[in-house]
């Protein structure tokens, strides 16, 4: 296949970026999207040009690193996958593909397609954990019986890989789905209830400080999330937040 590409190039965080046109040939349908970019980069390097910087690590949909807005959608046209799991068979010969970094004020571009998602780390650090004494007297988590339904919902919330597709898809660049998944995975478990009120208040406060937008319940985040994180989590976080605020 011959593919025409329009890719965002930006020298560094302080530079002004622009879309640059490229053409790449000899692309097979079984190649992954990132392999297609690898081939383009090898060509650019052989021509003495600066390769296109993009984030990637596991290349199997686990790490959540590949943050690419492909043809106007996070992780591309297919659902429930990350950009690294996208294959070129989803495109056809002669297609033009637009590739941009995830856009949000809280996700500044570092270079080309690489963004700084440390805002998510800071939200996690604000309360996305349980305080456990690990001095040797730690109780085995499995010693506490947990209802199957709650355990399943908690597990589903915990599958969030923090890729940022929810923010990228949301017209408001809201991080409510991410934050709510991290709140929910603990709020549903007895171990997480102990610090539940402080957790939700602190994580939402940090989310607001980072400059993410407000959720308007369009549901775009749920559709684009590669792990299928549900809007139920946002409703749960809102309940947790309101309850914690009222109790003071």
């Amino acid at each position: 296949m011959k593919i025409y590409l329009k890719i965002w190039r930006q020298k560094d965080a302080s530079s002004k970026g622009k879309m640059v046109d490229y053409t790449v040939e000899g692309i097979e349908g079984d190649m992954s999207f990132l392999e297609m970019l690898d081939i383009l980069n090898e060509e650019l390097i052989s021509q003495g040009e600066e390769p296109i910087e993009f984030d990637h690590d596991c290349r199997e949909g686990i790490c959540g690193t590949c943050s690419l807005q492909i043809n106007g959608r996070p992780h591309g046209p297919d659902t429930r996958i990350t950009a690294c799991q996208l294959h070129m068979r989803s495109f056809k010969d002669g297609d033009t593909i637009t590739i941009e970094p995830f856009r949000a004020k809280a996700f500044p571009v570092v270079k080309d397609l690489i963004i700084d998602r440390s805002a998510f780390d800071r939200i996690q650090q604000a309360g996305g954990y349980i305080s456990v004494n690990t001095s040797g007297n730690t109780v085995d988590a499995n010693a506490i019986p947990i209802e199957k339904d709650k355990a399943d919902h908690s597990f589903n919330a915990a599958t969030c890989i923090g890729c940022g597709a929810c923010v990228a898809a949301c017209k408001n660049a809201s991080a409510m789905l991410f934050t709510s998944a991290k709140v929910s995975q603990f709020a549903l478990l007895p171990q997480g209830r102990v610090e539940a009120a402080d957790r939700v208040l602190n994580m939402v406060r940090q989310m607001d400080i980072e400059g993410f937008g407000n959720c308007t319940n369009t549901g775009a985040c749920e559709v684009e999330c590669p792990k299928g994180i549900s809007l139920e989590n946002i409703a749960r976080m809102n309940r947790e937040y309101l309850s914690a605020s009222i109790k003071g």
């Binding site: 809201s174 993410f212 319940n217 775009a220 946002i234 749960r236």
Partner: protein, 222 residues
């Protein structure tokens, strides 16, 4: 108030609560208006009661105006903040791939409804305030039906009202069920809430439009 502005969830809750309040008011407004089609005398009686009852005029009316102002002001505040949250816009953004138009453009339907409210206040509320409190006219429990029908004589006004009701329908289509999600309600009742929202969002604006069109084509013959 500053604390409310600082929390994104609190801002959303203010939008949701004021929105649910306005949805309830719409049902009351429609019920009274519909009597103008089936029983002009009942419409006159109800309008006179609403216009001169102390609780309605000096307690419920200020609460309603506050609800409208809070909903619109907070809506625009949220829109400004949301625009700022994405400083650099996408070259290509396929919003239609993951969310319906109505949910992504509440600010447009809301702005049209706000403009309509300006016309509606000019047509009825300002006229009513002037009649009672500026011109200090005597009470006339029989005037409301004729005044209402007369308003819908011009085609342009009837058309503007009907178009506005169309945008109101779109606004309700997303907004009503969305309010419950914001308030933390997402459970086995959610499909029923969504279905009720769709029925309400079509039935109420359609009913308002019917009343406007009915009076346009059924003028009072003097």
């Amino acid at each position: 108030m500053s604390k409310i502005i600082q929390s994104s969830i609190a801002r959303k809750v203010v939008m949701a609560l004021s929105g649910i309040f306005l949805v309830l008011f719409l049902a009351l407004h429609f019920t009274i208006n519909f009597t103008s089609v089936v029983s002009p005398d009942t419409f006159n009686e109800l309008s006179h009661f609403m216009g001169y009852n102390f609780i309605v005029q000096f307690i419920m009316q200020p609460i309603l105006i506050a609800g409208v102002v809070i909903h619109f002001v907070m809506g625009f505040v949220l829109e400004i903040q949301n625009n700022r949250a994405r400083g650099v816009k996408y070259v290509q953004y396929k919003g239609s791939a993951n969310a319906p138009w109505v949910s992504r453009n509440m600010i447009i339907s809301g702005a049209v409804i706000l403009a309509f409210l300006g016309l509606h206040f000019y047509d009825f509320w300002i006229h009513e305030m002037a009649y009672k409190y500026i011109e200090a006219n005597p009470e006339d429990p029989t005037r409301y039906y004729a005044e209402t029908v007369e308003k819908f004589a011009p085609f342009w006004r009837t058309l503007l009202y009907v178009l506005s009701f169309g945008l109101l329908s779109l606004h309700l289509w997303h907004g009503f069920a969305s309010s419950f999600q914001t308030m933390g309600v997402n459970n086995k009742y959610t499909p029923s809430i969504v279905n009720f929202t769709k029925i309400y969002a079509v039935a109420i604006p359609l009913g308002f439009a019917f009343i406007a069109i009915y009076h346009h084509f059924n003028p009072i013959i003097h």
